[in-house]
């Protein structure tokens, strides 16, 4: 006891010995932090549970996957969602065909060429673009495609608006992947006299491909769940429509919204089953795309020694 005064520090230590108050505070914080994680998991589990329990009723029937609602009354049991699946996949595919090349070129520009003001502006605009609400993207395509160019509402217009939402996601993920390609690879290629563009296309992009594809698939899954552009840019059709440029075309989110508006949503009613069936189908498709992304990423991943 008496020795302590000799070696007392010049200033009081920042942290006193662990008093009860500090222990309580620490324990309280720990509890809160764990609790907040649980709070976030609850709605996720709850939503997925709701979708599965309510949606599973119609899915086992084969006509759910092979027929459309065209010849079924709105309150009649039967029919399927194949028209909406086709619409969703077509619109998503066309969107990806347009958005992926643009997004990757932007990412390559940012990583390999981008210097100075334009590169900064591009990074900034990609950030802004990723914050543009889907309804604004839809209105933009409406203003451009339908009122200015006078073209009809179609699945293709939806694809165009989805492109706006997909580009920033593709750019971000591709950019991240391209940046972690080691410079050694590039330099080895240059040393062999390979032109820069060939180096990028044959060395850099293939090396990063697994990550890029993963990012693209995630982006695709995200835009396929969008509803707002569908409302503004295409009409719902209960019949299967393979033509993305003409006529009305269904998509899973649009089908859900259509049933929501036109049918009473009492549990057990036809509309209720359809909505949740379509929701489960959509969730399954999104999960499948994500799964494919993971599998594909494994397959094309550069071999490690």
């Amino acid at each position: 006891m008496s020795t302590t005064s000799l070696e007392a520090p010049a200033t009081t230590p920042a942290f006193q010995q662990v008093s009860l108050a500090r222990k309580v505070k620490n324990g309280f914080a720990t509890t809160l932090v764990w609790f907040s994680f649980v709070i976030a998991v609850v709605p996720l589990v709850w939503v997925l549970y709701t979708v599965v329990v309510n949606g599973i009723k119609r899915l086992p029937y084969s006509n759910w996957w092979t027929e459309d609602f065209g010849d079924v009354l709105s309150d009649e049991v039967g029919g399927g969602v194949v028209h909406a699946i086709i619409g969703s996949l077509l619109q998503g595919l066309v969107c990806a065909i347009i958005a992926v090349p643009i997004g990757m070129l932007v990412a390559i520009y940012l990583v390999e060429y981008g210097r100075g003001k334009l590169a900064r502006a591009t990074t900034f605009m990609v950030d802004i673009l990723s914050g543009v609400p889907s309804i604004v993207a839809a209105l933009f395509i409406y203003a451009l495609w339908i009122t200015t160019l006078g073209l009809p509402r179609s699945g293709f217009a939806v694809s165009l608006s989805l492109v706006l939402l997909m580009i920033p996601v593709v750019v971000r993920s591709s950019e991240e992947m391209l940046r972690i390609v080691p410079d050694d690879l590039r330099e080895a290629s240059y040393a062999l006299g390979v032109p820069k563009w060939k180096t990028i296309m044959k060395i850099v992009v293939p090396t990063a491909l697994s990550g890029i594809v993963g990012g693209v698939m995630m982006a695709l899954a995200r835009v396929m769940g969008e509803t707002a552009p569908l409302l503004v840019l295409v009409g719902y059709s209960a019949y299967t429509n393979w033509d993305i440029f003409h006529g009305e075309q269904a998509a899973l989110p649009l089908l859900m919204n259509n049933e929501r508006v036109s049918n009473p949503m009492d549990p057990g009613s036809v509309g209720f089953d359809r909505i949740w069936g379509a929701a489960l189908t959509l969730v399954l498709i999104i999960a499948l795309i994500n799964l494919l992304a993971t599998v594909f990423a494994r397959l094309v991943a550069p071999k490690k020694k």
Partner: protein
Amino acid sequence: MSESSSTRTPTGDPGGRSSSVTTPPEVPISEQPASTAAPQPPASEKPKKVRPGDRIFQNLTTGAGIFVVGLIGLIGLFLLIQAIPALKANKADFLTNHGWSTSDPANMAFGILDLLEVTVATSLVALVIAMPVSLGIALFLTQYAPPRLARPFAYVIDLLAAVPSIIFGLWGILVFAPTIEPFAQWINETFSWFPLLAPGNVAPSVRGTIFTAGIVLAVMILPIITSLSREVFERTPTPHIEGALALGATRWEVIRTTVLPFGKAGYVGASMLGLGRALGETIALAVILLIPQGKNFDWSLFDGGATFASKIAANYSEFNNEVSAGAYIAAGLVLFVLTFLVNFAARAVIGKKGE
């Protein structure tokens, strides 16, 4: 032959390989262009020959970059052009009028005040709920969760972002709202003297209210705020943490003295990104919010109403003539400007931290 000079300039990192070897893990993801100023292409003695393939490819990628930069301007421009005729035909003041009647193109009177108020109210409710929770989750994932489980846990949170918003909307109104109805009712009755919790304009229903919508919206913006905050918290310098631990700090004190000060700007920026997302959320709110009959928003959380986005989505059937559509496009333009400003501010806050 001419490659000898080009081997150095085209690499991803202008600092050259030897200096870059030490730094890569520290480079902030959002701050890449910080390193742009450095390289003057080495003054080559003879003019360098550029291969046509290289020139084409560079122009192509640069063109894509310019396209993206131009896109934002185009969005604003086209929305503005389409909005002007409707704004000219508008018989009410666009900025201060509460009502919205556009079904008759010859006799339109619409204003955005009500939409703006409901949009801000829902987003703020969502933000007030989501901010502390996602702070907790981000801390949990970076500081508390067992390292082996941190990744799968983070994936679980990201899954929330993968759920389509229409499913959130349907779940919100069909499942969640009935479940919390007794609780909402109780709050509404007990605290009805408090203006924010007064009986709403869609009473007696307390289901399709800003209260419900705000909670569902909070769940939807959780993953955005969490993932960005987590990214920032992860970059807290280890020496800071170890220093605090060495001084005998408890875990909470470590966080309070190192992680939080370091990550504050990132967290604020992330929350603003979440706000931007909340402002623009469309279909979930269109599904949940009840539209009051002939009543305006009256600053109660138990009011119904429509946000910019949900108003547009709910009235897509009016997109049959250009003038009516123009009114909604004008509302969309305001929403675009609003989200642009919020995102701009968010990026500025995050960017400043990175330097």
